[in-house]
């Protein structure tokens, strides 16, 4: 056994791969908590995309919905903290002001989604244009009001604090580090893990899920068996807005406690990528988001403590931009069908027009 392992390690490329796997395994417990945290907003954006596209509506406005929600959450917190001053509680640092702000962020995200739904479902406007309008408008609107508000350097409602996993649980053999990584998060982070599971079950095991997929694949057939295509698409797009909004709120209310212009920094588009690589399924999207996030975490780990020997010097010599570009490269490769082809729902992006009653 040892001989084989030695022999394998002596092969130039294979040896590096084994050493890299060993390095990742050694760093996994340290990296995993940040990896999950980085994956949270990406996952939420991707879930929003899954809900929309499974019912046949393309949503490239994810970035804009997140940005608006991030801003509204912060701005509403400023107002709410003035009305409900209160000390953070022990559980997640919850305050009435924070909860009100979170509600406002979610409502804002759903309203923007309603605009997208109205444009793309009722007016049958090109859905890419509709998403583009949301993205450009979000930058303008949030930038405009933020420019006015931040001159007065206002005090926000603070942020949610992470849950402390008890050390008995975190020190459990085998699964301890995993539970610690998944649940050492703030409320939005933990909710994300739950939403992924629930949405996966709903989409493939419930009546709503079956109808959603039917409408996304063949709306005409769905309508003939009595499904209201227009209503279902509206409901899915508007509800999914709450998910992207949670992703935005995570940025300004869980990771940080204030809004920065353009703070989404492309996370909505990585979410789109995670949705594609995850083949339009919630679990797949979460997996892809974790994969993308772990590339980020790995690049950080390499900077802090690179592996020894030639592998270490090789990894250190790689440009950091390569790690940043990795999610997008993977997406193009998957989309082009070079590795495991990923195919969108058949009716994705096609507006539905009821046949006139005769």
């Amino acid at each position: 056994m040892v001989d084989i392992a030695n022999w394998l390690s002596s092969l130039p490329v294979l040896g590096y791969i084994f050493q890299l796997i060993g390095y990742i395994l050694a760093n996994l417990p340290i990296m995993s908590q940040t990896t999950v945290a980085v994956a949270v907003p990406i996952t939420l954006a991707a879930l929003c995309g899954v809900m929309c596209e499974r019912s046949g509506v393309i949503n490239i406005g994810l970035e804009g919905i997140m940005l608006i929600a991030a801003f509204v959450g912060w701005a509403a917190g400023i107002v709410a903290i003035g009305i409900f001053p209160g000390q953070p509680t022990a559980v997640f640092g919850l305050t009435p002001a924070l909860l009100i702000a979170l509600m406002c962020a979610i409502v804002a995200g759903m309203l923007v989604s309603l605009l997208h739904a109205w444009l793309s479902i009722s007016l049958r406007v090109d859905q890419i244009i509709s998403g583009t309008i949301i993205n450009i408008g979000a930058v303008g609107l949030t930038g405009y009001v933020n420019n006015l508000i931040s001159r007065q350097s206002p005090v926000g409602a603070g942020n949610f604090t992470p849950f402390q996993v008890p050390s008995e649980v975190a020190n459990l053999p085998v699964v301890g580090w995993l539970l610690n990584a998944l649940f050492s998060q703030g409320p939005i982070g933990i909710a994300t893990v739950v939403i992924v599971v629930v949405l996966q079950v709903w989409l493939f095991r419930s009546r709503w899920g079956l109808r959603t997929r039917a409408v996304g694949e063949h709306p005409r057939a769905a309508e003939t068996v009595g499904i209201d295509v227009i209503w279902l698409r509206y409901r899915n797009v508007v509800l999914s807005g709450a998910l992207a909004a949670l992703g935005g709120a995570w940025l300004s209310m869980e990771q940080y406690s204030a809004f920065q212009p353009n703070m989404t920094a492309g996370r909505g588009f990585i979410g789109l990528a995670a949705m594609i690589v995850g083949r339009w399924t919630p679990i797949g999207a979460f997996g892809a988001a974790l994969l993308f996030a772990s590339a980020t975490a790995l690049s950080t780990a390499i900077v802090i403590g690179p592996p020894s020997g030639e592998l270490g010097s090789l990894l250190v010599s790689l440009p950091t931009q390569l790690w940043d570009a990795l999610p997008y490269l993977i997406t193009i490769i998957v989309l082009a069908g070079l590795i495991g082809r990923s195919i969108p729902p058949a009716a994705d992006g096609q507006p539905y027009e009821r046949e006139a009653a005769t």
Binding site: I58, I60, L119, L123, V125, D126, Q127, I128, I129, S130, T132, I133, I134, N135, I136, G137, V139, G140, L141, G143, Y144, V145, N147, L148, I149, R151, Q152, G266, F269, L272, A273, I276, P319, Q321, L322, D324, A325, Y328, L329, T331, I332, L335, A336, G337, I343, P344, P345, A346, A347, D348, G349, Q350
Partner: protein, 386 residues
């Protein structure tokens, strides 16, 4: 034929032509006017947040728009419009061919990277008359390559260009940041920053004598008729427009849709790359680590507002360039944040796609908007590919 009858015929023709032009203009003009109106309401709503601002100040929009307008009547409008004309033409070529090129950011940055590479490499070794064309050529070639990739991916695997161009935007931006953080940085430079083409190379585009308009504006203007002739007076242009309007008809007509997709995307990327190249040599002169652009997104508005027609693109680029040029003076003189221009751009697009007039007055009074060309775009998003 007697004289008066001929005159009547001519005046009827002129009247018909004017009606045609009015029908074309009314949609975009209404969209812009309504957007300015909504923008004014927005300014009034938030006027209380301004330093020393009164809540619901009805005079503020007037003040802001006056500052915006006076700022727009300056040569900097041409400076801002130059990349918008070129990138807008690039997007328009794509739209005509039924392709939505969202990769403007990546293609623009590649254009800048290509020219910067040539300028760094040649330095002051060759005369400007050689260096400038060479730098521009490499810049537009890299832009074209950035357009070719999504085109080829769509033609061979059906991967939709909207998604691949979005992903390429980030990949290509990372390529640029990598180049600026190492290979393009001159030795002994104190920080990761490229050379300034005006100081350390002969490849920079000078300004017109006695003005601050750079000559790149003339190149941009020259491309307007070139693209027009390409689209409306060549076989290739006819094929592109046919494939955009009706891909099935194009296929039955013996055209090759896959070849057209690759060609159209490459040309689209080439024009946006040229925008990046000219912008670097004529305006920015240097690539800093955070170098970025919004031209890729602005060009979408320009192309749609101009109905993907080269002349229309030219005028809408001037309009948007003017708004960018006036946004600075507006912020300084009226205190209204310059981000208003981004919001206005989104609202213009919104009214354009809603097509308010057509909905109120009915289909016959107003011609359909630029959206007609777009119908084939998202139809190919699902399984139904080339």
């Amino acid at each position: 034929m007697s004289e008066p009858e001929a005159d009547l015929g001519r005046s009827q023709r002129i009247e018909q032509m004017l009606r045609e032009i009015a029908g074309l203009l009314i949609g975009p003009v209404t969209a812009v006017a309504l957007a300015l109106l909504v923008g004014a309401v927005g300014i009034v709503l938030f006027s209380g947040l301004l330093p020393a601002g009164k809540p619901f100040d009805l005079g503020l929009p007037v003040q802001a728009y006056a500052a915006l307008f006076s700022g727009a009547i300056s040569t900097s409008t041409f400076t801002y419009a130059t990349p918008l004309i070129l990138a807008g033409l690039g997007l328009a070529v794509g739209f005509k061919g039924g392709l939505f090129n969202i990769g403007g950011r990546g293609q623009f940055l590649m254009g800048a990277l290509g020219t910067m590479t040539v300028a760094t490499w040649l330095g002051t070794s060759l005369p400007a008359i050689v260096e400038i064309p060479l730098a521009l050529l490499v810049g537009l070639a890299l832009g074209a390559a950035a357009g070719f990739i999504p085109g080829a991916l769509k033609a061979t695997s059906g991967a939709h260009e909207v998604v691949t161009t979005i992903m390429l935007n980030y990949i290509l931006a990372d390529v640029l940041y990598w180049a600026v953080s190492g290979p393009l940085v001159p030795a002994l430079a104190p920080q990761p920053i490229t050379i300034n083409v005006r100081d350390s190379s002969n490849a920079f585009i000078p300004t017109l004598p006695a003005t601050d308009i750079n000559l790149g504006f003339l190149i941009a203007i020259a491309m307007v008729p070139v693209v027009w002739v390409l689209l409306y007076r060549t076989t290739l242009g006819f094929e592109i427009r046919t494939a955009g309007a009706n891909p099935d008809a194009a296929r039955y007509g013996g055209m090759k849709p896959r070849r057209l997709i690759v060609l159209t995307m490459t040309m689209s990327g080439l024009l946006v790359g040229l925008a990046g190249a000219i912008n670097l040599l004529g305006l920015d002169h240097q690539i800093t680590p955070g170098y970025d652009t919004t031209v890729g997104w602005d060009a979408i508005t320009v192309a749609l507002l101009g109905r993907s027609n080269p002349m229309g693109v030219f005028f809408s680029a001037l309009l948007l360039g003017g708004m960018r040029a006036g946004s600075g003076p507006m912020q300084i003189q009226a205190g209204v944040p310059r981000e208003l221009v981004d919001a206005l751009q989104a609202i213009i697009l919104l009214f354009l796609v809603i097509n308010v007039l057509r909905r109120i007055l009915g289909a016959r009074a107003v011609r359909d908007t630029a959206m007609a060309e777009l119908e084939t775009v998202t139809r190919t998003y699902g399984r139904e590919s080339v």
